[in-house]
């Protein structure tokens, strides 16, 4: 890996995520467009302005829910979007909603990590009427605990969502508890200029990937950049290998512990990963994903499997970044599943004003809200297919196509399984595997023993 170009760049990279509010995976990409206050300010203004087409379309879309809340009043929204650009994007949403319905949206922004860490006490205390959260088990967990409000009647009015989004918003009891707003895919990123120069082809199978990796090593490149200091990035590798080797349904069953962790199929995932490890960048446990992304950025590494937010580290060369979905391993399984975490909104169990909260959620799920978000924060993919996405960059467009063509969408390991299992068992478990890839039997046995104590 080369050295960073400036001292400031180097220092910025070393700040631990707990210290730097901006370095968080779910918001990084959005924050990527920078602290450009001018940009944020401009978009904010445009959203504040009397955009008559937005307003009129909005009131139509708000439908009967809004009618029952008949304008005025106030609804509170708890947001974890503490970074500059997304924060302004959410403010733009609030302002647009106020302009169209007269209802004030009071946004309470909490620092990203702190919001997640305090979610238990937050939801049991006096939560805001509407709050930001993630799809997947992480959403269903709180729904089944009775800490979130039923949004089935809101979903009856939502339009422009694929079935994938609807099922990602559905709780264990078949009711909807979540309104999806934005998402990003995980894929293998690379620099087309490097690949063109060396004549590499996008691998379609695991063998092709291995051959390509060997060629890259011969050419003096690190085939796959890799980092797992913070413990979560390698979960993405586990996810995609499990999705390719055992398929989506097995993955979801495993995440729900309907299948045992010492199942031979799980061992196969780890053994396949162990075969690929020599192609990965060495010593991942001391490296942050930002440092690994620099290996790709500086053309020292050939590929990097990460979320779309990886481009945050490559803002200077955005036109020289491309990606492909992880290649097929088993022809019977194919390569049509991937991780694409969805962010969105939920409603408190007992909102102060349920009609207004639901009216707001209906609007947030509308294509008008998605249009406001695309305009004010051009670095995310919006969930509503009806939105006007003509402003997307090439990467955004390709990301949207990739996710759109996927048959099954997983969220991410730490969103698809119990939070305690993900953070206190899987995270150290995967790190233990990376330290000692040989003891797969021991690892799987340990994971299963611990899973049994948590999934009771």
């Amino acid at each position: 890996m080369s050295r960073p170009r400036t001292e400031a760049e180097y220092l910025a990279r070393l700040i631990p995520p707990s210290v730097a509010g901006t370095v968080s995976r779910r918001t990084l990409f959005r924050g990527a467009m920078g602290a450009g206050a001018a940009l944020g300010g401009a978009t904010l203004l445009s959203a504040c302005g009397s955009d008559s087409s937005t307003s009129s379309a909005t009131s139509a879309a708000s439908g009967s829910a809004a009618a029952s809340a008949a304008g005025g009043g106030e609804v509170s929204l708890g947001s974890n979007q503490s970074d500059d650009v997304p924060k302004k994007g959410y403010q733009a949403l609030g302002d647009a909603y106020k302009a169209s319905t007269g209802t004030t949206v009071k946004i309470n922004t909490v620092q990203h990590e702190a919001f997640q860490e305090n979610i238990n006490s937050y939801l049991q205390g006096k939560p805001d009427d509407v709050f930001t959260w993630f799809a997947g088990y992480r959403m269903r967990f709180f729904a089944s605990k009775g800490l979130a409000g039923d949004l089935s009647d809101v979903w009856a009015q939502l339009q422009g969502y694929t079935d994938g989004f609807k099922s990602a918003s559905t709780g264990d009891d078949g009711k909807q508890y979540f309104v999806p707003v934005s998402y990003y895919p995980w894929a293998v990123f690379y620099r087309p200029s490097v690949w063109k120069e060396k004549g590499y082809q996008v691998p379609k199978t695991l063998d092709e990937l291995k051959t390509l990796g060997a060629t890259m090593q011969k050419d003096g490149l690190i085939p796959i950049a890799f980092a797992d200091k913070d413990g979560w990035p390698a979960m993405g590798t586990f996810d995609v290998l499990n999705l390719r080797i055992n398929g989506y349904q097995f993955h979801i069953d495993l995440m729900a512990h309907k299948v045992a962790w010492d199942d031979p199929k799980v061992k196969k995932v780890f053994s396949t990963w162990a075969e690929l490890l020599p192609l990965h960048q060495a010593d991942p446990l001391g490296r942050t994903w930002q440092e690994a992304a620099q290996a790709l950025q500086t053309k020292k590494a050939g590929m990097y499997l990460l979320g779309l937010f990886v481009t945050q580290q490559m803002t200077a060369n955005l036109d020289d970044v491309d990606f492909f979905t992880f290649p097929e391993i088993d022809p019977a399984i194919g390569a049509d599943a991937l991780d694409a975490p969805i962010d969105g909104f939920m409603m408190a169990k007992k909102p102060k004003d349920e009609a207004r909260a639901k009216a707001l959620l209906t609007w947030l799920g509308s294509k008008e809200a998605a249009d406001v978000l695309v305009k004010s924060d051009p670095t995310l993919l919006v969930a509503n297919s009806g939105a006007n996405v003509s402003g997307y960059t090439a990467l955004q467009k390709k990301s949207a196509e990739l996710v759109g063509s996927a048959k099954n969408i997983a969220q991410f390991l730490d969103r698809d399984t119990r939070p305690d299992f993900a953070s206190t068992v899987m995270l150290p478990g995967i790190q233990a595997f990376l330290k000692n890839p040989k003891d797969i039997d021991g690892l799987c046995k340990s994971l299963e023993q611990q899973a049994k104590t948590l999934f009771v």
Binding site: I119, K229, T424, L427
Partner: protein, 329 residues
């Protein structure tokens, strides 16, 4: 309150002081009385406020932690949702929770290194600085500087030194040809050595702390003691170990206690580096991982915390028994 009517010697002896003030108002009945009205209120307040604080902030949390360690609870719902599961958490901690034993080992390692290396080094530096060397103030400043910094900041500073790809340590090793640039040492990522890197950073701070405390103690030693020793022909080393060190016994005990406290509460440094994972497990960090945040394994985390409490108690009992024996003498 049967004792309130009895005239204990303590109360009698306290009475004259009180009487002087009371006589100015109403004439006294002559009978020796216990504290009255406002005085009693003041005493009561002075006893009750700390008592409530100690009970509420120390004993209540400590005892509820012990109680919760026998439960399985995710922190959601009322106390009625708590399930009592006996010793299962403890059983799981010692049998199937992989980070526990490394954490215990690391905590003891911390204690050992601070106790055997950092603390003696601090004492040694204090003795040197006590010799009135030229410019000893200048030496003191850099040695004491780390103490002013929070451990979180110390972690950040050493991250700059120990970074695998950009750190000063590797760059210097490569510059003098002691390291191959193609395979740098992963100071914070390699689980076999990162605890040592942390110990260096932690000792760096600890040495300055001990040095300052000991220096203050040394300044208070009566110079005539040393003169007498040198008159009797004792050399510097002998003077220190036979005269100065025993005289500084109160300071020594404080230093032992501080070293133990620092070793047990070592947490912020590893938390800043990698949240106490991958070779940097410490019991304090494991408690935080399990209890704080979405994981919310309240019962399991409480079991870990209780284990830490028991370990601390060993040292607390040792300290208290030493201090009490001292007082008896």
């Amino acid at each position: 309150m049967a004792a309130s009517n009895a005239d204990t010697p303590l109360v009698t002896s306290a009475a004259p002081a009180e009487a002087g003030g009371a006589q100015r108002g109403a004439p006294r009945s002559g009978r020796v009385q216990r504290l009255k009205g406002p005085d009693r209120l003041v005493v009561l307040t002075m006893v009750m406020v700390p008592l409530v604080l100690v009970l509420g902030l120390v004993w209540l949390p400590a005892l509820s932690t012990v109680a919760l360690s026998f439960t399985n609870w995710d922190g959601i719902g009322g106390l009625g949702t708590i399930k009592w599961i006996g010793l299962t958490n403890y059983e799981n901690v010692v049998t199937i929770y992989p980070p526990f034993w490394p954490a215990l080992r690391n905590n003891l390692l911390f204690l050992g290194v601070l106790f055997l290396i950092a603390t003696p080094l601090g004492i040694f530096l204090a003795v040197l600085l006590d010799k009135d060397l030229r410019g000893s103030r200048i030496y003191q400043t850099p040695l004491y500087m780390p103490v002013v910094l929070s451990l979180a900041l110390v972690g950040f500073i050493w991250q700059l030194q120990f970074s695998r790809d950009f750190g000063l340590v590797n760059a210097m090793l490569q510059a003098v040809g002691q390291q191959d640039a193609a395979s740098p040492v992963d100071w914070y990522g390699d689980p076999n050595i990162n605890i040592w890197a942390v110990l260096i950073a932690s000792s760096w701070r600890h040495v300055g702390y001990i040095m300052l405390l000991y220096l203050a103690g040394l300044k208070g030693v009566d110079p005539s003691l040393r003169e007498a020793a040198s008159m009797d022909g004792a050399n510097e080393v002998k003077t220190f170990f036979r005269i100065v060190f025993p005289v500084l016994r109160p300071i020594n005990i404080i230093i032992i206690v501080i070293t133990v406290i620092e070793a047990l509460r070592a947490y912020d440094l590893v938390w800043v580096i990698n949240k106490g994972r991958n070779g940097l497990e410490l019991i304090g960090a494991l408690v935080a991982q399990n209890v704080i945040g979405e994981a919310s394994r309240i019962g399991f985390g409480s079991a870990l915390a209780t284990i830490m409490l028991v370990i601390s108690l060993v040292f607390v009992i040792f300290y208290l028994s030493t201090v009490m024996r001292e007082e008896e003498r």
